[in-house]
Symmetry: C2
Subunit: 94 residues, 2 copies
DNA sequence: TTTATTTGGTTTATAACATAAACTAGTTTA
DNA sequence: TAAACTAGTTTATGTTATAAACCAAATAAA
């Protein structure tokens, strides 16, 4: 009947982040913050969860002297997103 | 960028219930339980939330001597579901 | 007949979660 | 040199989803 929704992606902010990362090669923390409008703390926590799950890769470096956190989606993340979208369709398709 | 997801519908079980009710005239508690596979307690709680929100109508009656709770979606619920689906598309559409 | 068992739920307890507030560390600007 | 800004992390809190425990009545079994 209804396919299970990956709880890691069934969260507004994490879904936003994955959705962003799907369409770009990589994105830094500020970009994610700007596009989602969420608070730094919330983004930080959700990025960490996605990282631990293996859905994204996180690289901490510098842009000049300023620290910069770069995120990119992993193959696992792409597969999970596609599966999530497919599962969603079992709920919203007429 | 991303449209807000109605938190009342952005829940696996509540979304299942609304999704079921969208396609039928009405459904009783047992039918919902069978189709969703969720526990009675969980269904009871989520039905009550949808009812309080005005998304569904709940009528308690009897089938013979056995109590029966009938649920049907309201106009408000239909609109909310359509809006939710539309918002979702801002996350999952390529 | 009285004791399980089943049906159809509700109430309550709990663990997980999302979120923002508070905080850290370093940099730039006035 | 002090204030303000960038770039986050950690922690605290309220909310939520969920299942366990419970209740009441009907039916089946012993």
């Amino acid at each position: 009947m209804f396919k299970e929704l990956d709880p890691l992606l069934h969260s507004e902010l994490r879904l936003s982040i994955i959705s962003l990362l799907i369409s770009v090669e990589s994105a830094d923390f500020s970009y994610i913050k700007e596009k989602t409008g969420a608070s730094s703390g919330n983004i930080s926590v959700q990025i960490e969860k996605l990282r631990v799950a293996g859905y994204i890769k996180v690289e901490k470096g510098y842009r000049g002297k300023i620290p910069q956190t770069m995120c990119s989606i992993s193959q696992e993340g792409i597969v999970a997103f596609e599966k999530y979208v497919d599962a969603l369709k079992s709920y919203i398709m007429p």
